[in-house]
Symmetry: C2
Subunit: 324 residues, 2 copies
Amino acid sequence: MSDKKKNNDELIKLVLEGQPRAIARMMSKAETGNPDDRIAMAKIFRHSGRAHVIGLTGVPGSGKSTMVRSLTLEFRKTGRKVGIIAVDPSSPFSGGSILGDRVRMNDLTGDDGVFIRSMATGGALGGLARPALDTVDVLDAAGFDIVLIETVGVGQDEVDIVSAAHTVVVVSAPGLGDEIQAIKAGVLEIADIHAVSKCDRDDAPRTIADLQGMLSLGRHTMRSREWKPVVIPTSSERGEGIEDLVAAIDAHLEHLNKSGEMEMRKRRIAEMRILKSAEDVVRERLRKQRDGKLAVLLDKAMNRTIDPHSAALELLDGFNEKDG
Amino acid sequence: MSDKKKNNDELIKLVLEGQPRAIARMMSKAETGNPDDRIAMAKIFRHSGRAHVIGLTGVPGSGKSTMVRSLTLEFRKTGRKVGIIAVDPSSPFSGGSILGDRVRMNDLTGDDGVFIRSMATGGALGGLARPALDTVDVLDAAGFDIVLIETVGVGQDEVDIVSAAHTVVVVSAPGLGDEIQAIKAGVLEIADIHAVSKCDRDDAPRTIADLQGMLSLGRHTMRSREWKPVVIPTSSERGEGIEDLVAAIDAHLEHLNKSGEMEMRKRRIAEMRILKSAEDVVRERLRKQRDGKLAVLLDKAMNRTIDPHSAALELLDGFNEKDG
């Protein structure tokens, strides 16, 4: 047995025991996705599949980070372990925000039943879906009952990630500007649960009524035929609504399990992950082509003697045999 | 000659003459990317390469749509034809916003020297980069001197699109919330030019100083070694700064051409487009696999007897021969 394999086997053992430093190290391996660590990640995957994965998304200013914190504290009351993956540049968890927010999360970081991981956005081509969902496996295998993925609800990559959760919570807030509202519209239809923040405000009933009106128009049929999305008012100011939100999340999980929809969602998520991984592999192989085919095609594209799509077809022609 | 080919040849002729309805039809073909229309798009590509492609991005509330409008009017003063591609759900051009904004763009739509195209976000896997850049080709081939791509500066897909411009303008505004500022940080480093909107406001000097401070720290070296990004204050309220912004854009174009950096950028853009197209092709081929390999792998993944990455490798194994 090689040292590398031995080290990884020891690491996996510690991850499965829930040892925080081992979890953090395995997550780094999951993120970078080195071929050497793929065997370890495959083993981790075999031990995953028990956590309830919750995607939480909302536009900037919707108060979703505060809600992640409140939700976590509420889940902890029932003893459930909570892993958090923040891929949102505006989240205090991902380090994107201001000191005030950081202070607010201090009550989470001292708790062994909570693990927070932030993921940097802005990598090269490929996006965050593959690494984000691999880190979900790590938390899942490490015995976290709940894995919360927080993303800002803008951009296809972020929507892909949050759609890969079993339960999707979309956070709305009253009083956001029109430009923000326009952006928000794109993400509403993936919600299983609508959480409305800041319901101590005078204009909150309007936001709640708007969401309920939208749901009555039947747009909720996009994600599930049997589950009717609910609207949950909350107020972190008054400490209200978070029990209701947890109850709605638990009810959704029960629905998924009883209706057989959980199997369908897991299958859809697995499909998405396999295809994203395949795309990553192809991208890597194309970039590594040793025969300089890409450089030749680039010269032609610069002369406008070949278009990008035809160049892509030429590039793909037989690339698996040579470079796989 | 088939009817289809004849029709496409006629359409291409009309596009090259700048006929608006032909441009719109060709753009629809570019967006959907049907194999039948790829030959037409390849011909369009051969006639492109003259336009100055400008990417304009900024967070919600930064006033970038107003700036696109002002910029367009300013470019028109010198007789330059302007094509606009709005992939921003908060833009009035893309139909994501409110009536007030729509009214503000009326003075553009009556002008033959301006063509506005909006692209819907929220497609399936794959993103908007390929279709957005193909529509740039159409406007370019149709003789537009300037092609402006407007995106909201959040999400990898949007950043990829705007990075594929020759000149990138990032719009900042004073007085945005902390959450918005945190998101903004991710896009600042791709700017060739920083445009600050709403400089009639009292807190604008702070925003300008912050940007200048950031630039003095040398972060601008990320995109270009020789061009030092500039900060241009503007005010649509007072009608100020847009001439300066156009002058900065023109100066950047001159720099690109004189320094040889334009060739480098065009090469990088072409490479990105070829690789994105190749990924699209592979994604399509994988989804169409007729032998049910994906379904078998999905069953295994559901049983946790194979992980997504290993499944991807199996899926790719020899797929080109069978399904190409």
